[in-house]
Every structure is written in structure tokens, then in C-alpha cells.
Symmetry: C2
Subunit: 328 residues, 2 copies
């Protein structure tokens, strides 16, 4: 009889929106999953359905502290990601990025694990280049109220690139653009969760300015598919890819380049919640209105043979179903 | 009889080029000085003349580890600063910036010390704005071979700004532009040390391109004067200054806005070393030629009533005297 051991994955930020989807997917793919979260913005509710699985272990742990264990693959997702959360404690936010990646890179180095670090489109800041390509260096303030997130994430990329170059750690990075889906925090201040929660509760849906500014929305399952494909690639393919594109380290955008106006999103939300008493109302545009960003995903297409598949209508329907369970 | 206790200062990177000058100045000003250095790029030779002073203590310590003590003022200068040094160990370089500032901010927080952090013009990267003003956000690669220094320094600024905003730490920052003087490392790869060493040893002086690219050079004593004035300011004056300029945190450029061509520098060096057998030779410009940067120092002038005083001729003479003692 041949014994087959499952591959072991470590997921940080496992109880967060994206972490929870990744854990579920890794279990479906046959992995043994160790899920870390400090439950600051993540919630056990997101992963409670996984607790019965014998291949799943949850550890309440803060990534600013070292963590030890033997894994084949490390997925580093830990970091408060919405301004409402990260501005609650800026110092801990930047520590979770910087000390978190250091601890995970040290673990990867000493155990020879592969590591996939999730960076963000926020490293582009208020971009002067549209759509954003990976070689664009970004436009980011170092001392503003959003810097704890943006600069922490930029610095984490530098750490990963240097551990790879100096110590040979097999580190890979994605820059994740605006992503949505079930398990999003209902009060994270993002436009999709705002609109759905407003529509479900019959409050007016607030549009800023004329509502014609555009956004790109990636459904969570599309992102998870990209992460899995990326991790599966042999190291040689990634090295060759970096060489071919003169990239200092493997970093690729993942996002959905399809653009919708905020007004279209609001109207589609109301169409999918037909009984809603909500109306669209317009407010003056605030000075810190999130900037327009749209990913160039050519590199992800080339490297992973991947592109997003889930249409906004379909993803929105699934997200609304999820938010209904919260409101009930 | 009234007992008067000297003020206590902690200097990190104390055995480095700038740290050694700061220690000397603080002793002249009556301080008790604790000097930290891991002696990776700094050298005891720079501070050996201070060891006889009873108010001076040297501690061999790496700022990536916590340090404890009671001080009135903390000057955080530790970080390998020349590409030759920081590319020797990129991971330790970024750690010295990021963990160094964290440890010093934690110390400042718990002991209520003032802290002056030395940032760098490198946070502007390859600037798209000339001359550089403090509000310019910079143009920096996160995953290149220089990123360990640039992004580490950017992230350190963010830490200092957030400890100040969130925890009330009295943190102040300078962005130091190209500075020279005695105690510079003779092999740090900078143009002034290169030229003087070449001229003293009779080697040809290498100019890249036509030598007409310009640089700004600040003499070390001018910088130290700025640091001392900055630290002396009451907190209220700094808060008001930030308010007045809508600065997210107190950060000011210090540098000498006077510009010289590389050729002028080479010629002046040879004029001051009349016996030199060196000749100027021209080489093709390398692709990573350091970018032109010139500080806008209006904010430093306003806040500190300061501007650089030492002319290049005078500073160069003192620097050449120093390098002669090394060559002998």
C-alpha cells in the first residue's frame, strides 16, 4: 500500500475575505492547511465551515511574531486592507506588512518553502500611468494617513525581492486590484459592500460627484485561481519570465480590467435587489476619493494563462446572497 | 551648590561619517553621548578621539535589536548609505532602516525622548520634479537592486510619521542630500571620495559622459548645524510648522542647493592637490549613473533659520586634508 501525504500550505490572514476563499480552495485541492489569523479584521465566521475538515487547522497568531512549522507553500495575505481598518491602528498595520513578510520569508528561507506574497495595487498610489503596468514605480506619499498601508506593502515587496535575490528564497508576488465577493467585511467602506448593504437595508445609495467615475472589480474566485496557478509554476518558469521582462522580481498584477461607472454598479445592485426601497442620491465628491486604477494584466495572462472569467452581474449576485445571510 | 546634569543623547550609526561629527558636536555642546554602532560600515577610527571624554560611551550594538536607556534626545543615523555597502547585504540594509527606526521609536515612546530621524534624498528616487520639495512623493522602484535602501528609508519615514500621529512621539525628520567631509569612507564609491583618492594616488580621474552633469554637495558641518537646531526647537513650533504647510509629519530637506558640474569638481580637486600626476579621462556614462538631485531648502530656512555656509573650496580642502591622513 502506497501512502500519499497531502501537500502542506500555510495561509496568513486566513480568516479574512480572501484568505478564507483560499483556504477553502486549498482544501478542495487536497492540501493540509494551517490557517493563521489574529482576528483583528478577519472573523472566524469566514472559516467556521472549514473547522470540521481534518486537514484544516486554525491558529490564532499575529504575523508580527515569528511562526514556525514545515510547509511546502506559504501564502502571505495578512494585513488590514481597508482604510477604515488600517487607520484604526496605523502602526500595527505597517508592522503586519513589514514584520509579517520578514517572518514568513525567514520561515521560507529556513524550510525551503515556496512563498506567494499578496501585494496590492495601492503600491501604485495615485498613479500617473493608466492602465498600471508592473514596471510603473507608483506615486505614493510616505508620511500621509494612508502611508501605513501603501508604504508597508511597498516595503514588503522590497523584502521579498531581496530575500529572493540575496538568499534564493522562491518568493512570488501579486499586486491585487479591487476584489469583491462573499466574506467581504460589510463595513469595510468599499463601494460594493456599501451599495449592497444600503440596498438591503433600504437606505439611499450614495454616489459621489456625478457617479460617472469608473472602477474595476475582480471577483474573488478569479483571484484565487490566479494565486493557485502562480504557486504551481516551477521556479525555472518564473526565473525565465523575470529574465524575459527584465523584472527585478516576479510580480504580476491580478485584477479585472473591465470598467464600470459607479452609477452602473449602483443600478445593477438595485436591479438585483428588486424590493429595495433605496434611491440613488448624489453628494459632493470628497477630497480623498479613491483614485481610479485599472490593471494591465498582460503579464498574468502570459505567465499563468489566466484571465478573469466571472462577470460583474454573476459575482454581484453571489455577493448579494452572502450579504443577505448577514442581514437576516 | 547647584548640581547641573548634562543632557543625554543617543546617536545610532555613531561611528559612521555623519554620526562621528554629530557625536563630537554634541560633546562640544555639553551633552552626555551614548554612541551605538555595529561597525559594519562605520569605523572606530572615526570616533577614537572621543573615547577619552568621560561624557562619551561607545556601545557595539546593531539597531535591528532593541536598545534600552534613558535619553533626552535620540538621533537615528544608522544605515549603510552607499550603494557599495548596502548592496553587500540588502536584507540587513533594509532591516537596519525598518527595525532600526521601530526600535528607536519604541524607545522614544516609552521614555518620552525626542527623536530626530535622518532620512535621505533617495526617497525621491529618480525625481520627476526639480528641485525636490518635501511634498514631492518621489519616483522609486520597489523591487530593484537599490530598493533595499530607498524603500527601507521611505518605510522608516512612514513609521516615524505614524508613531508621531498615533502615539504622540516627538519625531522629526530630515532628508539629507549629498554630503561630504572628513570621515567619509574612502571607498564608498561617491564622486568626491573617488576623485580625492584618485588625485592623491596619482590615478586618472574618471569622468562619465562629458562631465557636465551637475551635483550638489553639502559640507558635513552645515548638516550637523541643521540637526542641532532642529532638535532644539520646541515641539509646538514644529507642530505649527506642519500645520502651516499641511505637512503630514515634520520632514525637511537639508542639502546645499549650489550646483557644480562633475568636471568643475574634478578640476578643483586637482587644483588643491597641485603635485598630483592624475589626468582627467572620460568614459561612457553607465546606465545606473546616479540621478541629478538638488534640494529645495526653503522649509529648512524657514523652520531653522539655517542655510549652508561652507563653500565647496573650503570643504574640499578640509576633506583632502583628512584623506591625506589615510593615505599616509
Amino acid at each position: 500500500m502506497e501512502l500519499k501525504f497531502p501537500k502542506k500550505a500555510l495561509v496568513t490572514g486566513a480568516a479574512g475575505f480572501l484568505g478564507s476563499h483560499l483556504c477553502r480552495r486549498l482544501l478542495e485541492d487536497g492540501y493540509e492547511v494551517t490557517a493563521l489569523d489574529n482576528l483583528f479584521t478577519g472573523t472566524k465566521n469566514n472559516i467556521i465551515s472549514l473547522f470540521d475538515n481534518k486537514r484544516f487547522s486554525f491558529v490564532l497568531h499575529d504575523v508580527t511574531q515569528p511562526f514556525w512549522g514545515q510547509f511546502d507553500e506559504i501564502y502571505n495575505l495578512a494585513c488590514p486592507a481597508s482604510p477604515i481598518h488600517y487607520q484604526h491602528n496605523p502602526v500595527e498595520t505597517i508592522k503586519s506588512s513589514v514584520l509579517g513578510i520578514m517572518n514568513m520569508l525567514d520561515l521560507a528561507l529556513k524550510t525551503k518553502a515556496k512563498i506567494l506574497h499578496t501585494s496590492t495595487s495601492e503600491v501604485y498610489g495615485d498613479p500617473l500611468v493608466h492602465p498600471q503596468v508592473e514596471k510603473y514605480w507608483g506615486n505614493v506619499n510616505t508620511i500621509g494617513v494612508r502611508s501605513c498601508y501603501d508604504e508597508g506593502k511597498r516595503c514588503a515587496e522590497t523584502f521579498a525581492a531581496d530575500y529572493r535575490r540575496e538568499y534564493g528564497v522562491d518568493a512570488r508576488m501579486v499586486r491585487i486590484f479591487n476584489t469583491y465577493g462573499p466574506n467581504m467585511h460589510p463595513k469595510d467602506g468599499r463601494v460594493i459592500s456599501n451599495f449592497i448593504m444600503q440596498a438591503l437595508s433600504g437606505e439611499d445609495i450614495t454616489l459621489f460627484g456625478d457617479g460617472l467615475q469608473t472602477r474595476s472589480f475582480q471577483y474573488c474566485d478569479d483571484l484565487i485561481e490566479a494565486l493557485r496557478r502562480y504557486m504551481e509554476l516551477p521556479r525555472g518558469a518564473i526565473d525565465a519570465f523575470c529574465e524575459r521582462h527584465s523584472l527585478g522580481a516576479p510580480v504580476i498584477n491580478t485584477g479585472n480590467p473591465g470598467e464600470y461607472t459607479i452609477k452602473e454598479l449602483a443600478e445593477e445592485t438595485l436591479r438585483q435587489i428588486p424590493g429595495s426601497a433605496s434611491k440613488l442620491v448624489y453628494r459632493p465628491i470628497p477630497s480623498d476619493d479613491p483614485k481610479r486604477r485599472k490593471p494591465d494584466i498582460s503579464l498574468a495572462k502570459e505567465l499563468l494563462g489566466w484571465e478573469p472569467k466571472v462577470h460583474l452581474k454573476e459575482g454581484l449576485a453571489k455577493t448579494i446572497e452572502y450579504f443577505k445571510t448577514l442581514v437576516r
